[in-house]
Symmetry: C2
Subunit: 191 residues, 2 copies
């Protein structure tokens, strides 16, 4: 469990930190959340908190939407690309149809886009594991012969992962639009 | 030229404001730009500036990347969807391959995502005219029979407009990746 430096991390404490953060976001909103208050509610020093989550958006995103490990654990595997993408776009529809999620994701993204180092850490911890998970869906499709050989599975992962993000968060569209259309165009366009 | 309220707007003054803003962004960076300094360099009152551009990101985006009218004026029309999309993705490659543009777009997007009213105005003035222009490309393709009847031209516009945005700005990918692949998947997937 431990890295090469310092004490083994206590997974139970991490889980309590995440649970307290979730509650605090619901109660006070993202902008109102103070990391020191989370630390003191859990009964740990703020250094313990900052060592694991050096910046507030990293903590809040993981608390509310799950970290990299969770992202890898929720892959659909229906046996066809069409089936897997239907499951993925339905999960996205659910996520983005909650106005509280949309507001929170916009705030988190705003903070991360405003700072290069924070953005890089956000990508490393939280974005890439999600894309890797979607790429697994694409790679399975490639193994089944559902993708032309020249189709890049990373490209398919980003196409599937990025569309609803920009449609809802940036363009202000509804989560009810276009999910099945996206899945359909990808399945037809990549085969 | 004039709206129903107040004096006709002086297009030459607007152009000077935009030119001074462009120079100031190059010299001082987006975060260093002060709207009052732009107004005084042009020799107009700050109310003149704020009446036209109530918030800094709206002014800077229009100065550097063009307003809604410019977006509508640069449509490719090659006679095929494949040709038009090749032109669109090449323009996007050029835009996003300049690190200064990427940094500026991230800063502008960060500010807009952080404030609902500003985001709505950003979408209305700057995003929707660009999407409308891409939708014209898709509508022409539909008129030529290049899209299945059930394909929504707004969806195609967002797919084309949003991919490189999220790939470069959010995921941190290179502008050299995936543009032709996107055009290809859309052409095949939508027909």
């Amino acid at each position: 469990m431990a890295g090469s430096r310092g004490r083994p991390r206590d997974a139970a404490i991490d889980q309590r930190i995440l649970a307290v953060t979730r509650e605090a976001v619901v109660r006070q909103g993202y902008r109102g959340l103070v990391m020191e208050q989370v630390a003191s509610a859990v009964g740990v020093g703020k250094q313990t908190l900052y060592r694991r989550w050096p910046r507030r958006p990293l903590l809040v995103f993981e608390a509310v939407f799950g970290g990299g490990a969770e992202a890898a654990g929720i892959l659909p595997d229906t046996g066809t690309l069409a089936g897997d993408l239907a499951a993925v776009v339905e999960a996205q529809r659910l996520l983005y149809s909650d106005p509280a999620n949309v507001e929170l994701l916009r705030g988190l993204l705003a903070d991360c886009l405003g700072e290069p180092e924070l953005l890089a850490e956000f990508q490393r911890r939280l974005v890439r594991p999600r894309l890797a998970s979607l790429e697994t869906v694409a790679r399975r499709a490639a193994d089944r012969g559902e993708l032309r050989p020249e189709i890049d599975t990373e490209f398919i992962a980003e196409l599937i992962g990025g569309f609803m993000l920009v449609h809802v968060l940036v363009y202000g569209g509804s989560a009810e639009d276009f999910g099945p259309a996206l899945a359909d165009v990808v399945v037809r366009g990549a085969r």
